[in-house]
């Protein structure tokens, strides 16, 4: 199954994997994706393409994935439950598979209220766990959600999901991961890790359930670009945990914007080095949306290059 996924190959070989993230443009210009893809191509095994993240209209994740593949980079296509019902999702996934998409990240999606069309309907016909289950059944049992057989080629995806170790209730978070794994998740990308201690506690709960042996866990990281951004993530993004010492470290950087950015990269590299040591962490997911150029530097400093 899904033998052709490069990401799966890297993970299965036991090498520490690197994924990155690319936000498609808010226009119809494929060049934007090509340019960003070039920045990322030598430093990641696969790159996530977001599906209208934060509910803002952007180029479709599947279309963007195709452009990315033309650049020789493997996409992890994101699919959310916010904008499509089960008919549309299954249809889009048949199309994505036909176009060569191999990795699929199943998400519930940010609520439409966060985005630029807050008056729209939120579909949420299913949630991320049910989405995983549906796609796994399409692949393994060759059936549509309704039970009807898929005659002919079934979509064959390496299935991923997200996990947030920092959301509440904390005691339930590893159990929720267990549900995702049971539903079909083969790899997991976590919410951004700044609070390494809490992440390690979550990983312990994950190991106690044996989940690290049933899926590959990639720790999410991002370099804080400015003090303002770090504060914003701390105070305004639900489900994010940015300890004060991270902000203090940025403040300690010399005044110029460049110094802060450099320190942001250093912080990210330090976090990668720490999570790498945690048993069961199979890789990192470096998210630097609108700062894609930072990723090669981070990967280099963290000793993650060259990629296999």
């Amino acid at each position: 199954m899904n033998s052709a996924s490069n990401l799966k190959k890297v993970l299965a070989s036991g090498q520490f994997a690197v994924t990155a993230e690319l936000g498609p443009p808010k226009n119809a210009d494929a060049e934007v994706i090509r340019t960003k893809a070039k920045l990322l191509s030598d430093c990641a095994d696969a790159v996530n393409i977001t599906d209208c993240q934060t509910a803002i209209v952007r180029m479709s994740s599947i279309a963007s994935s195709v452009v990315m593949m033309q650049e020789g980079l493997e996409p992890v296509t994101q699919m959310t439950c916010r904008d499509r019902n089960r008919i549309a999702i299954q249809s889009d996934l048949l199309g994505a598979a036909a176009l060569g998409v191999k990795n699929l990240l199943c998400l519930t999606g940010d609520h439409q209220q966060f985005g630029n069309h807050p008056n729209s309907t939120g579909v949420f016909d299913m949630d991320s766990i049910q989405l995983l289950q549906m796609v796994r059944m399409m692949r393994d049992e060759k059936v549509f959600q309704c039970g009807e057989e898929i005659k002919g080629k079934a979509p064959d995806f390496f299935l991923g999901a997200a996990a947030n170790p920092f959301a509440d209730p904390f005691e339930f978070r590893a159990l929720r991961l267990a549900k995702k794994v049971a539903a079909g998740a083969q790899f997991i990308q976590t919410q951004l890790v700044y609070n390494v201690e809490k992440f390690a506690a979550w990983m312990k709960a994950v190991r106690d359930l044996g989940l690290h042996e049933k899926c590959y866990i990639l720790a999410g990281v991002t370099p804080p670009k400015s003090i303002g951004m770090a504060r914003y993530m701390k105070n305004n993004v639900p489900g994010m945990d940015v300890p004060d010492h991270v902000i203090a470290r940025l403040k300690g950087a010399k005044d110029s914007k460049k110094d802060v950015q450099k320190e942001g990269i250093n912080i990210c590299v330090d976090i990668i080095n720490m999570v790498k040591e945690i048993e069961g962490v199979a890789g990192v997911h470096i998210m630097a949306i609108e700062w894609e150029s930072a990723v090669p530097e981070i990967a280099k400093q963290a000793g993650l290059l060259p990629r296999p």
Partner: protein, 222 residues
């Protein structure tokens, strides 16, 4: 109960343009209980409309009346002999009452004075909140009696999502995350294992997505 709220007055005045003789019709059911469209609110609305018309030099005749309910033929029939006298009936019932009036009196203009909001409870004086979305396929046995369909912003069945923090929903800190509440309740009831099962995809055909709904009970029909 069904909870509603009176529409902004300018919107009501706008829809009454050119209408000279109005029946303002209250409802003695939910609309009264939630202080949106009972006798008292009918009286207030009628006087606002009259004052407005007087200021604008376009007098209006308003008749005020409140039925026990507007969702039963029995009560709506009380209007049978007078409804033709009015240019329009402005209903202060929920949307159900407005619809039923329109169904029954095809030749009369029927207008809504309320925005019907949700099925909910009166939490405290002046505060109402939603509890059930009438999905037609109740799951509360599995969720500790708390509804994820009506009370989770993404109606997740395998929540809580990654945005749940400090018991609050990611979309608005004024909204409780019902999945945190479900977790706490099941924990208190020693039923946390219920959350480990994967909740299958819901059949939404019994909710609005299956088209307008109807119940026929043979045991009760005449």
């Amino acid at each position: 109960m069904i909870v509603g709220q009176r529409k902004p007055i300018q919107e009501i005045i706008g829809m009454l343009k050119g209408i000279k003789n109005i029946l303002i019709l209250g409802c003695g059911g939910c609309a009264t209980v939630c202080s949106a469209g009972g006798e008292k609110e009918v009286e207030i609305l009628a006087s606002i409309i009259r004052i407005d018309r007087k200021k604008k030099g376009g007098p209006v005749e308003t008749k005020e009346k409140t039925l026990a309910r507007q969702c039963d033929t029995e009560y709506l029939e009380e209007l049978k002999d007078e409804v033709d006298k009015y240019d329009a009936v402005l209903s202060m019932a929920c949307g159900v009452g407005v619809n039923f009036l329109a169904d029954m009196y095809p030749k009369t203009i029927i207008l809504p004075a309320l925005n019907t909001s949700f099925m909910g409870v009166s939490e405290e004086q002046g505060v109402w909140s939603e509890r059930c979305a009438g999905c037609g396929n109740c799951v509360l046995d599995k969720t500790g009696g708390l509804c994820p369909v009506a009370r989770c912003s993404k109606h997740l069945l395998n929540g809580p999502c990654g945005g749940s923090q400090n018991g609050r929903c990611e979309i608005n800190p004024d909204i409780a995350c019902v999945w945190q509440l479900i977790y706490d309740r099941l924990k208190g009831l020693n039923q946390l294992e219920k959350l480990q099962e994967i909740f299958p995809m819901k059949d939404w055909s019994s909710s609005l997505h299956g088209g307008p709904r109807k119940i026929v009970r043979e045991d009760l029909t005449l």
